[in-house]
Symmetry: C2
Subunit: 413 residues, 2 copies
């Protein structure tokens, strides 16, 4: 029978094997005492199994509250635990309750982070993955051999539909490929979703009629399920190509339901991610996280950006981008969405470290606040990516390209 294997980084003051078996027991047939009916046969079929334990280091202070060591020794290890798919079948919420449920509360651990998940091959028969992915989003935006370049409406909230549409018109003329609502904006008092959709799609459709290029706009439909579905359909009717969901706040089951429509590209915003990942020994690593959301069927997933405005290191961002480049079954690869404090200058380091152009490169303030206006902001970013692929340094690119030079003058360090 096929098994699902999860890799955890754990910390415990107990014997590692004992602690690992507490986890396996808690997350399968066991409870705090032996119970009748928990037969050897039942255990063999349904018990979680500790596959391996790899000691990493021993430290003197616990990472998070839990069982304390008298000797001041806390052992960190990577452990692999497996479950038969007979336990939950093809039910992602129950699978996640098994791999990421009560085990975070086990007193024996003073650190527990889900690092990776290996799904068995039969999952491909039950999950289609992204409807569009990299190739499909390139076809929708007609962008090839360079990153899809996008922006986020800033100010995040407060502009009228008409102001928003006016900026979209300017950006379209400047050659933008993608625009999105901020995650704080869905339907505000002065910018009702339906009004913004109508105003924005009017200018996008007009520009498409004229130029043959349709800008992809990710409208934030995050909300209650029926409203999301209604707004999804309105985007389709209006000729839009993309909907955005805040996947952590909307949640897995509703996101899956929306993805299953398989008409629009789905832009997955990961706001709230810091709560799940910021502590090095608590929560979930992006490597495991992205696999879940690829099964759910999103097309674009946020990964932060090099030299971002947040706390995350460049190494971590590079790992995230690279994890999305790895295949998952025969599914379409999805697009890493690079954003946060981006203005084009980071294109050099991003490309040097990931060697991929299959990204959605997003600049909010970096485009909207360009000294020569948003259109110059778009050109500056296109120039930065062309320069980096051509092998220019940032300084050489500044000499070559006036819009990029102005951006570097304002946003560079």
């Amino acid at each position: 029978m096929e098994r699902i294997t999860a890799t955890y980084l754990v910390e415990t003051c107990h014997d590692l094997e004992v602690a690992a078996n507490v986890l396996a027991g808690e997350q399968s047939s066991g409870t705090f005492v032996d119970v009748p009916n928990e037969t050897e046969e039942l255990k063999k079929r349904f018990s979680a199994r500790v596959e391996s334990i790899e000691h990493v280091e021993t430290v003197s202070e616990p990472a998070i509250p839990g069982a304390l060591s008298k000797e001041g020794k806390y052992h960190r290890a990577r452990i692999r635990v497996s479950w038969s798919i007979e336990n939950f079948g093809y039910n992602l919420p129950v699978l996640i309750s098994t791999l990421q449920g009560n085990l975070y509360e086990i007193a024996q651990f003073t650190g527990l982070k889900l690092m990776d998940i290996d799904f068995p091959s039969s999952f491909v028969e039950h999950y289609q993955g992204a409807r569009y992915g990299v190739d499909g989003c390139r076809a929708l935006t007609q962008v090839y051999e360079r990153p899809i370049i996008g922006t986020i409406m800033k100010p995040s909230i407060g502009m009228s539909p008409e102001q928003t549409a006016e900026i979209v018109a300017t950006l379209a003329e400047a050659g933008i490929d993608f625009v999105k609502d901020d995650e704080l904006m869905s339907s505000a008092a002065n910018s009702k979703f339906e009004d913004r959709l109508a105003a924005v799609m009017k200018v996008i459709n007009a520009y498409a009629d004229k130029s043959g290029k349709k800008v992809m706009y990710a409208f934030n439909i995050s909300g209650e399920l029926d409203e999301m579905q209604r707004r999804y359909e309105k985007i389709v009717e209006a000729g839009g190509t993309c909907a955005m969901l805040s996947i952590n706040t909307v949640g897995l089951s509703a996101t899956k339901k929306i993805c299953d429509n398989r008409v629009l590209a789905i832009h997955a915003h990961r706001n709230g991610w810091g709560m799940m990942n910021r502590h090095p020994l608590l929560g979930i690593d992006f490597r495991a996280y992205q696999k879940i959301w690829r099964l759910v069927g999103v097309d674009q997933l946020h990964v932060n950006g090099i030299q971002n405005k947040f706390w995350e290191s460049d190494d971590s961002v590079v790992n995230s981008i690279n994890s999305l480049k790895e295949p998952l079954f025969n599914h379409k690869n999805i697009i890493p969405v690079i954003s946060s404090g981006q203005w084009g200058g980071q294109a050099f380091e991003t490309y040097r470290r990931t060697k991929t152009l299959d990204v959605l490169y997003m600049a909010g303030g970096g485009i909207m606040a360009h000294p020569m206006g948003p259109a110059a902001g778009v050109r500056g970013i296109q120039q930065a990516w062309k320069a980096t692929v051509d092998g220019l340094t940032l300084e050489e690119a500044r000499k070559e390209y006036p819009e990029f030079d102005k951006a570097a003058g304002k946003f560079g360090k």
Copy 2:
């Protein structure tokens, strides 16, 4: 205009006022640079506002990775931040993306936990809250003036529908009020949901016909949305009274959709909670968490238990139970679900510290592994609660009640 106020516990090496304003800017109109269109008028209407800053302590080590202090000083404070409801209206996912979104990634903070949310009064017009709550669940189970006593099917996974039904029959005869699937069990290879539902409801209905008392069984319907909805309807058809959801893994929008059916009582399991709460300076406190799920409309919400098998302190559990006793608008109060390592002995301390009988008191192993069998396990717990209300001590109760005495002999410390 009405405002929503969030209270955070934060840690920063920066000036507290500066850091609080970074949070307010990031989570409303601002970005990392000033942008055109962010007018004073727009800011006045849509900007988040720092309402108060209360310094708590200054420590020498950062709680989580982030901006480091040269002087080794990290200031902890409770800060209150408010938003106009014009920003998001009555959209819980967008509200949560605002209160619990990218702010967890702000480098200036080395600790950030959402402690409380104050919703304005107009929310009552948009959210109905629990369909049943305490009074409704008492009416459904016909339990008054004592806790509703329940158990969790253990082993968590692996028993056949027939074995499950057989245990339910024994428990019903013993006077159990409530039984639930373990959160690891929804539809397993040897216990398909539909088969288990049929087998269990057959014995529950038969016992109800005979005795007039219908045991409430919380069937775990967690899964994809359409399947949850189908299974919900099957529970209704079979005469069941309750469905269980793993709310963190199913997610907010799908849980709301299921709650909105308003036919079954909804048992909300919080597995995964440790990831969001275990670190003292990261994530969300139960006080804020329970308010969100009360708006969504669940009837029963897990709070762990006194002297539990997990890491959580008794103080924290007591705070959780007490937070559910506070009113939220004119909504029905919901039931704290007490579980984890419970066997009846904790009834004394639980009652002493919370002075409430409006709880669902759950013992899994504590009933299933009772030395005289599950029926004696149920009686032992009923005895414990009667004894504590009668003012007996645990030792006095042991002398009075043989089943409780046996439980104490096996499970007590």
